[in-house]
């Protein structure tokens, strides 16, 4: 499997990197962390309009650009590197991918707004850790032509700015997708405090809220989960790489005992270990994008990517603070911004242990 980038992809990577480097320095990240919306509409308009990032991975017939998981991965990796604050992952990735599982004419109606960035959508899942548990809280009552939802999703990403809620709810039999107007009666969106203020979270409660069912078929949560996990894994390796690079540079300039502390083997060797873990996670993540794009490769590739990226990011985040010593524990130093994204992403969409278990289940299914 060739997981190297084509010249076009490398150029795209460069473009996205330059944009985010300019628009998402940590000064801006810190300001948006303090804001209630968590994003800058002007930057959102540029990245969705001029750069077309919100539609990159969505089909052309729905107003997207028709690229795939590899290009989406390039975007997410850069966003993770620069801690981009905004509803990209919630709307373009989560809701956008979920709506590909809706029936026509709903896809035709709802996806173009997401692809263009004019609609900000949030995907409401009542469990963010395990697709098998989705639909246990939010129940749908389907009448003729309209539905009603009742239940709570305790953690929803970027619902506070959403124009559209895409909800996975159980009709008592199976889990299907519904569209809900966040301003409708019976919908309550309450911001909740999160460990990672660069990603805004809310509690979303439905009390007999009006909803529109987006197709008869149940939603394929496993396939959706794989796609989301691989996009998130890209975000994580981007962040991990940035933290790692910064840490190595710091070790070259910080002097103690009359020498740069990066000359001590105890620290050099730890860096070599971290590099190894990071490179393995990157290889797994890029291969998972290829697997999603081509259907070839290991069926467990998305699980491997999410598990390895989670652990590499978290380990690098821990060591990035440790290797900086006292300054690394201060609010003023930027390291904690990535540490918090790492911690939050570690459990978002399944813990490493959950993904390893799912990986073994897939191997068992292959053998059976």
């Amino acid at each position: 499997m060739d997981t190297t980038w084509t010249p076009d992809q490398l150029q795209f990577r460069e473009t996205v990197a330059r944009f985010l480097e300019a628009k998402s320095p940590t000064g801006v990240v810190r300001k948006l962390m303090e804001s209630s919306t968590g994003y800058d509409p002007a930057v959102w308009a540029q990245l969705s309009g001029e750069l077309g990032l919100t539609g990159t991975h969505l089909p052309e017939r729905y107003g997207g650009y028709g690229f795939g998981p590899v290009e989406l991965g390039i975007i997410c990796e850069a966003m993770g590197r620069h801690l981009y604050c905004g509803p990209y992952f919630a709307s373009a990735v989560m809701a956008g991918y979920a709506l590909l599982g809706a029936a026509e004419p709903h896809r035709e109606r709802l996806i173009p707004g997401i692809a263009s960035g004019e609609t900000i959508a949030a995907l409401v899942l009542d469990d963010l850790g395990d697709p098998d548990r989705v639909g246990r809280s939010i129940r749908a009552a389907d009448g003729n032509g309209s539905s009603r939802l009742t239940g709570t999703a305790r953690i929803v990403v970027d619902a506070q700015v959403a124009h559209l809620l895409v909800v996975a709810a159980s009709d008592g039999d199976r889990v299907a997708l519904y569209a809900v107007d966040p301003a409708a009666a019976g919908v309550t969106i309450t911001p909740v405090q999160s460990i990672d203020a660069t990603r805004k979270l809310s509690r979303v409660t439905f009390a007999n809220a009006p909803a529109e069912r987006l197709g008869d078929d149940p939603v394929d949560l496993d396939a959706l989960w794989d796609r989301l996990a691989v996009a998130l894994a890209h975000e994580m390796i981007g962040g991990a790489q940035r933290l790692f690079d910064g840490t190595v540079e710091y070790l070259k300039i910080r002097v103690q005992f009359g020498r740069p502390i990066g000359s001590f083997q105890a620290l050099k060797h730890r860096c070599a270990d971290l590099l190894t873990e990071l490179e393995l996670a990157k290889a797994a993540t890029y291969a998972a994008a290829q697997q999603l794009a081509t259907g070839e490769g290991d069926p467990f590739a998305p699980n491997m990517a999410k598990a390895m990226a989670s652990e590499a990011y978290m380990e690098i985040a821990k060591q990035a603070i440790q290797l900086r010593g006292g300054i690394g524990f201060t609010w003023e130093d930027d390291t904690h911004l990535w540490f918090k994204r790492a911690k939050s992403s570690e459990v978002f969409l399944g813990t490493p242990a959950w993904h390893r278990e799912r990986m073994i289940q897939k191997l068992e299914a292959e053998h059976a």
Binding site: K268, A272, A353, E364, H367
Partner: protein, 416 residues
């Protein structure tokens, strides 16, 4: 180019038609092979070769393989010796030593590592003192594969103690079959004895058997070590002859068995990841949530390491400007994988991991894995040295302060 290759193939075919016979004694056949110029076609014309490039040489080997014809002998350390002598030897040395390597009449061993200098090879203290037209050698070597049947050894010894350590080393070709050379098998913790210790007590090397000048030994040793890394030590005869019949094949298989004997346990030091999932299934251990987690970790490591290596190779092939350090982490990942595999095999076996031999899981193979894995992070350069290399060359971190510059005589050393 294609025409050139077809012509070569036709010439080799015609030559084999005339000379290749399965009832010839092996050495007699290889002498013919050397005289015919087909033993080492990539070597220079003056020294038994034809000056072929890699592609032309591959054509020759392909014909040999297709015909089931046996090629030149230069397995193991003899291949390293040949490569180094070709690069640094004088005319007399090339004429004298290369031919018997190709015919298999002489086997070789490598006398580099010492008990007192492992990772720090250049800190070696075996001494070679000039005495007229010869050198007298005293010291001890270790990790010498095949030394117990070798005719010659490639030897590093110190000839000058008053210069910095890398500058005082010389490179010798030593006759192993002399009174001053004693070879003892070195038994490893897994029970195998794949290596030897070699004791040199007033051993003699004629001055004409010094390779290069005095003090050039370290530079020349790097030729040997880089050849070792590139796999020159492997069997180049290329014939898949395991199942062919005829006296010459019997003789060849016997030669091969001796050469490969030290390596029988090598697959086990990698941890044998291939056995983990099937064994977990067969034993029922796959039902244990802890085993599932650790097995998944192992399979992730192995798969990701393969993917990283493939990605690095693809980058090298296309010469992309994106630099991937994946190539340099290969040795460290091999250690991680082997250790995790040993851990998983232990979990799967439970109390049976106490056993060895015929009563143990897989007739002792699992026990052999558990006792061989510690070698992987030491052999061919320890993980610690590898981490120095990665952190300095890939990450650009500064070196530790050193205490071994100046005359070697004054450098702190291990106490004997």
């Amino acid at each position: 180019m294609r025409d050139d290759h077809d012509a070569i193939a036709a010439e080799v075919d015609a030559w084999l038609d005339e000379h290749w016979r399965v009832d010839r004694p092996l050495v007699e056949w290889r002498r013919k092979l050397v005289d015919g110029g087909w033993a080492a076609p990539d070597w220079p014309k003056e020294y038994f070769g034809r000056g072929f490039d890699a592609a032309q040489t591959a054509v020759v080997h392909d014909v040999f393989r297709r015909r089931g014809a046996i090629g030149a002998a230069q397995q193991g350390p003899a291949g390293l010796a040949a490569h180094t002598i070709l690069a640094h030897g004088n005319d007399a040395q090339k004429r004298r030593y290369l031919r018997p390597i190709l015919t298999g009449e002489h086997t070789w061993c490598q006398l580099f590592s010492e008990p007192g200098s492992g990772s720090d090879l250049a800190g070696l203290t075996t001494k070679a003192e000039r005495d007229g037209d010869r050198y007298v050698v005293n010291g001890q070597k270790v990790w010498n594969t095949s030394a117990h049947h070798a005719h010659y050894g490639i030897l590093l010894a110190r000839t000058d103690w008053d210069v910095p350590k890398h500058q005082g080393i010389s490179y010798f070709l030593i006759d192993m079959r002399q009174p001053g050379v004693e070879v003892r098998p070195l038994k490893q913790m897994n029970g195998h004895a794949s290596f030897n210790e070699v004791f040199l007590t007033d051993a003699v090397v004629p001055a004409e058997d010094r390779l290069g000048n005095e003090g050039e030994g370290w530079r020349i040793a790097n030729t040997t070590l880089s050849a070792e890394r590139q796999g020159f030590a492997r069997d180049r005869s290329g014939g898949a002859v395991q199942h062919l019949e005829g006296p010459i094949y019997d003789e060849y298989r016997a030669e091969l068995a001796i050469a490969l004997e030290p390596y029988t346990w090598y697959p086990q030091r990698t941890g044998r990841v291939d056995l983990a999932l099937p064994r977990a299934r067969e034993t029922g251990a796959l039902g244990d949530p802890h085993v599932r987690q650790e097995l998944a970790r192992l399979l992730c490591l192995k798969r990701a390491a393969d993917l990283a290596a493939a990605r690095a190779a693809e980058q090298r092939r296309t010469g992309s400007n994106e630099v991937i350090p994946a190539g340099s982490i290969g040795k460290l990942t091999a250690s991680l994988i082997a250790r995790q595999a040993a851990h998983v095999h232990t979990l799967i076996s439970g109390c049976d991991a106490m056993l060895a031999g015929p009563d143990a899981p897989m007739d002792g193979l699992i026990a052999e894995i558990l006792l061989s894995v510690p070698a992987i992070s030491i052999a061919g350069g320890t993980d610690e040295i590898q981490k120095n290399i990665i952190s300095e060359r890939v990450l650009g971190l500064p070196r530790e302060p050193r205490f071994d510059d100046g005359p070697f005589r004054n450098v702190p050393r291990n106490v004997k």
